[in-house]
Every structure is written in C-alpha cells, then in structure tokens.
Symmetry: C2
Subunit: 227 residues, 2 copies
C-alpha cells in the first residue's frame, strides 16, 4: 500500500478516504482482498474512527463491501457495476457536452484548451500523467454546466470504471483519447451540440474494445458471471 503524506488542510477522515481510494484504483490493494480498519489505521498513523468513516463512504459506491464483524472486502472487478458506471457517465456527460455548447464562456474554453495542451505535451513524454488530465477535462465540462454535485455522484461510481482504465494498455490508445478530447473541445467551441454529442459518444465507445482483452488478462480479479 502506497502512503502519500497527509495534506495539512484535510481532516484525518478525508486523508484516509483519499489514500484508500487511490490504492484501490491503482490496484495496489488487490481486488478481492480483505482489509481491516485497524490495519489501515496503523499504516496511516490514525485511530480506527476516521478509517471507519472513510470505508463507510467507500462502501456506498460498492467499491468495498463491509462485512460486519468480519472485515472489509475490496470488491472484485464487477462487470455489472462497470456497466452501470459507464451508462451513468455516457448518459450524463452526453447531455452535458450539448449544454456546454451554449454555456461555455471564453474563459471556460481557455481552461479546456490549457488542459488539452498539457495532454498533448505529456502524450509522448509521460503517459501516466494523462489520466488525471483526462479526469480534469471531464470535470471542467461539469463545472461549465454548473453540475458539480452530479460530478461528485458520477465520480463515486466511476471508481469501478477507473480501476479498469488503469489496466488498459497505453500507447496507441492514448493518442486517440487525446484527439477525441480535441474533437469534443472543437465542437463546444463551435457551439455545435450535434458534433459534440457524436464526438463524446465516439470517445466513450473506445472502452468497449478493451474489455474482452482485459477480461482474459486479469481474470483473477474479475468476479463470477462476467462474460
């Protein structure tokens, strides 16, 4: 388990939530493994209370499953939950990119452009930096549409999805993702909701291609009835 330092501005509970989340998404904590509150509390140098509260929040998105008096099970990769997370993101964000065509100000477009510049910069240099930039690109679109609470809800569920994104191979795919973002940006800039919708759906469809490969490769992490 990877333990970054505590940010002084965050509470112990927020710190515990952040560290556990990151380790689950990065697969440093293996799907299907059991984690104990005491064990994590000791590693983080905290008492059980903030760790308990962090796990409680994580259990709401079913990324962990608290088994009373037994322990806390980190969920296996579950195709049904990934399907739900993907459905939610596609449905919500498709509507958002359309709205963004109307709502985006010059400053908003500049923020997106700046994010895209960084994506293109890191594309060949340090692809690991792409995922946070990708996440932020989508987050900016929520902010443009004043839907930050929706963003929080969608993010929570997206953890299932993010964990698999980490398994996908980089290289060619990264190139396409960045150019997808560029296409979405152009459509918003041109205030063309039809093009924005099309570009976004093309973007999200890329994931489907990888799913079968990932299923083969990492089947020890994938729960039962996933095809």
């Amino acid at each position: 388990m990877n333990v970054p330092p505590k940010n002084p501005s965050e509470t112990n509970r927020e710190y515990a939530f952040r560290v556990i989340s990151e380790n689950i998404i990065s697969l440093d904590i293996e799907p299907g493994s059991m984690i104990g509150e005491q064990e994590i509390a000791t590693v983080l140098g905290l008492s059980r209370t903030p760790v308990h509260e962090a796990l409680l929040e994580l259990s709401k998105s079913k990324i962990v499953d608290i088994l009373p008096q037994k322990g806390c099970l980190v969920s296996m990769i579950d195709s049904d939950l990934i399907r739900e997370a993907r459905f939610l993101r596609i449905t919500v964000e498709t509507a958002l990119v359309e709205d963004a065509c109307e709502l985006a100000t010059e400053a908003d477009l500049q923020e997106l452009e700046e994010n895209l510049q960084l994506q293109e910069f890191y594309l060949n240099k340090d692809p690991l930096k792409l995922m946070p930039l990708d996440n932020n690109f989508h987050k900016i679109i929520y902010r443009i549409c004043n839907k930050m609470q929706c963003h929080y809800m969608v993010s929570l569920m997206s953890m299932h999805f993010d964990r698999v994104r980490n398994l996908s191979l980089h290289s060619v795919k990264d190139l396409k993702i960045v150019s997808d973002h560029r296409a979405i940006y152009n459509a918003i800039k041109e205030k063309d909701p039809v093009a924005a919708r099309a570009a976004f759906q093309k973007h999200m469809a890329r994931f489907e291609l990888d799913w079968n490969i990932i299923c083969q490769e990492y089947k020890q992490y994938i729960s039962d009835g996933s095809k």
Copy 2:
C-alpha cells in the same frame, strides 16, 4: 421531529439516517435550522457515533452542511441543487425508460401494473400514499434495467427535489401524475421507446409549473439567488 420506532433489522446508523432523512424531506426539520449530533442522539436514544455517521452521509448530498466545531446546518431549499437533481433524474431516467422497452419481462410489467393499480386506488382516497408509490414506480424501472446503483446515487441527490415535491399541492396534479405513469407503462408494454421517452419527459415537465408558485409561497425556506 418525528421519531418512528427502530426496525430491528437495521443498525443504529441506518436508523439514524432514515429518521433524519425523513424529517428533512417532510420538512419536520426546517430548512436553515441547526441540528446538533448530541441533540439528535438523545432524541433517538443513541450515542453520537451512529448519528455522526448518518449526518456525514447526508452531507455528501449537500442536504446538510457540517460546520466543524459549530454544528450541522440543514440546507435551505437551493434552486441550483434542485436543478441538478432534476437534470440527473431526467437525463438518467429518460435513457432508462427507453431501455426498459427492450428489457421488461412479463413479470416486470406485472409489477408495474400492480403499482399503478394502487396509485389509482389511493388517488382519491389517500393522496399522501402516492409519493412512496411514485418513488417505487421509478425504482422498478431502475431494477428492470439493472441499474440499482444508479438508483442509489440519483436518490441521494433527489432529496433536494423530494423536499419541494412535498410542498406542491395535491388534487389536480396527482391525477395527471398517475395518468403520466400509466402512459409510461403503456409505452414500455408496447415496446415503443419513442413514446416512452416522450411520456417521461412530459411527466417530468409538470414540476416546472409549480416552481414559481412554491418560490412565492415558501420563500423563507429558499436560499438567496433563486429566481
């Protein structure tokens, strides 16, 4: 504050969450009022711990705002959050009713039909029973589409929306809501996604009509910049 008995199958935390939620949605706890953990714990006959955890979960949907070392503020009715909740419901459930046309089995249709019978039965007898039936009608559609996790996320945000639904007057409106549900059901039964989509959007549009009236009537509960 209205305190129903504790269901033996629920934990103290779940009990606290249920009671606080219900009292906020029913407006028995007034928007804008402060509530203390100790105060609620005493009323419910619990310690602060489960109440604290319940409030923590409620704060995630911004229905309460925890002010550290000060207290817990029950949020004012906030038009921005209602707009988000409505956006999320409309966006997600519009997609769902389309999918339901394909996915609904005979047993599913029967469950919807049964719910509709009850709605029509209580329409003139006991309109207060309509809201749980309404909620359940929508929940069944999530279940048909295997999107229960989405349902949980949408429900959490819908609390903002539900609190206002409680303010809307009954009578004529109830009649229309029940017939809307019937129309959605018929479209799903006929496997007609276009009709389902149209019926659902007409259904959700009814709310807009009430908003201005409610704003006038209950402005003491409504936060700042709501028009």
